[in-house]
């Protein structure tokens, strides 16, 4: 295998990561890290640097379309970003003081439970439901495109969702994982936001959280240009393709794929925590 073949292979992995990441709101790091670290034998630090690039590329590549088409609720995204960015700072600070292994196991169990929960969809809050006071003040109620035209929705439990977002940010700072899973779960399960709005708003948000931690990865030398190049170009192609099919994709299928991915993520975290890899 020469460097061109190696780059093409990594680029294909990037396409898969961007595609899956943009449709599930998870970012795609979960595809890139195992591909590089386990399959191609790349040092985990280079893999983490490439994963950061994956998350930012998925986010911007897909969100450009999602925001224009009206799936992403940018007010919800902006408001919740306060919680995730502050959480990420707290997580990075705590990382030196607590055992990440124990947290990885606990978080893994939470994800396994969530995978089970999210396959039992709750009805989205119809517009006839009573408006939530906080959501109304923050102008979060909106509508999103469906095959039957715009569908309006109402948002609930904003304080609970905000708190969970803080936890999501802390976990991402602590464990160095993309917190797309918790972001989608908080919006979908707690705030009762339609699934496609939850995943696209998560996609919109993860880029900012990741960009905030880019400084440390760059200065530690984790971001290798020759490795990040095929990753980034592949991820952009994949995430733009994902954004194109979102409109036609069935929510039921997206939910199933999302559950399977967080199931794998949860199992991996428990295993890594128990064997002391994290």
């Amino acid at each position: 295998m020469n460097s061109l073949e190696f780059s093409l292979l990594v680029c294909l992995g990037g396409v898969a990561a961007g595609f899956l990441g943009s449709l599930t709101g998870l970012g795609g790091g979960i595809v890139i890290v195992p591909l590089l670290a386990l399959w191609l034998g790349v040092d985990i630090r280079y893999a983490i640097g490439a994963s950061l690039i994956t998350i930012i590329a998925t986010s911007s590549g897909a969100a450009a379309a999602y925001v224009k088409e009206g799936y992403t609720n940018f007010r919800i995204g902006m408001f919740l970003e306060i919680a995730t960015t502050v959480g990420a700072m707290v997580g990075a600070f705590l990382a030196a003081k607590v055992s990440p292994s124990a947290i990885a196991v606990v978080f893994g169990v939470v994800l396994l439970y969530s995978a089970y929960q999210s396959n039992r969809p709750r009805p989205e809050r119809p517009e006839t439901a009573a408006p939530d006071r906080v959501a109304t003040f923050l102008k979060m109620d909106s509508d999103y495109p469906t095959v039957n035209g715009p569908q309006s929705y109402r948002v609930s439990n904003v304080p609970a969702g905000f708190s969970l977002m803080f936890v999501a940010g802390t976990l991402s700072g602590l464990l160095g994982i993309g917190s797309g899973a918790v972001k989608v779960l908080a919006m979908d399960q707690v705030m009762r936001i339609p699934f496609k709005v939850s995943t696209t708003t998560s996609t919109f948000m993860i880029g900012v959280t990741a960009a905030a931690s880019a400084g440390v990865y760059l200065s530690r030398g984790y971001i290798d240009p020759a490795l990040a190049m095929p990753v980034m170009l592949g991820v952009l192609a994949g995430s733009m393709a994902g954004a194109r099919i979102l409109a036609r994709a069935e929510t039921r299928i997206l939910r199933t794929v999302f559950s399977l991915v967080i199931l794998a993520l949860g199992a991996d975290l428990i295993y890594s925590g128990l064997t002391g890899r994290i």
Partner: protein, 150 residues
């Protein structure tokens, strides 16, 4: 002057993200093409972590390498543009909400921007470059050294 409706803000935000991504990708693609043209076909060794050379770890160094048309410097500069895109989106949101006269969200967005910039400045300045061996800038099959770089 048209009104700053949510639809218009969304359209502009999407356009900003798209152009950020296009510029970043073009830069990375150009650097990548030059990399393959000049660096031969040996795969860099990623099994052992060496870390990037110091000039590819800081913004000033990356800009310098990109200006001197070093392929890896160009790629790294494209990645910087990619990282800057979501930050530009947050900065644009501050302006958009201000033009909408939405004070609540101006404060919300400023908070996000402040936290992100604080994080970037703190993390960037605190980190000491460890005395590791640096990865060669370019490995060619016949001369496994830092031959390409200066």
């Amino acid at each position: 002057m048209r009104e700053w409706s949510d639809d218009r803000v969304q359209w502009l935000m999407g356009t900003l993200l798209r152009w950020g991504v296009i510029f970043a990708a073009a830069m990375v693609l150009a650097g990548g093409a030059m990399y393959f043209a000049s660096c031969g076909s040996a795969i860099p060794d990623y099994k052992v972590f060496r870390g990037e050379p110091p000039e590819l770890r800081v913004v000033a160094g990356i800009v310098r390498e990109a200006v001197s048309l070093n392929p890896l410097g160009l790629i790294q500069f494209g990645l910087l543009l990619l990282i800057a895109t979501p930050l530009a989106r947050v900065a644009f949101s501050v302006v958009a909400f201000a033009l909408q006269g939405d004070r609540t969200y101006v404060v919300v967005t400023l908070c996000v921007l402040a936290v992100v910039l604080y994080g970037l400045s703190r993390e960037g300045s605190n980190t000491v470059v460890p005395p590791e061996r640096f990865a060669p800038m370019c490995i060619s099959s016949d001369a496994p050294s830092r031959s390409f770089h200066r």
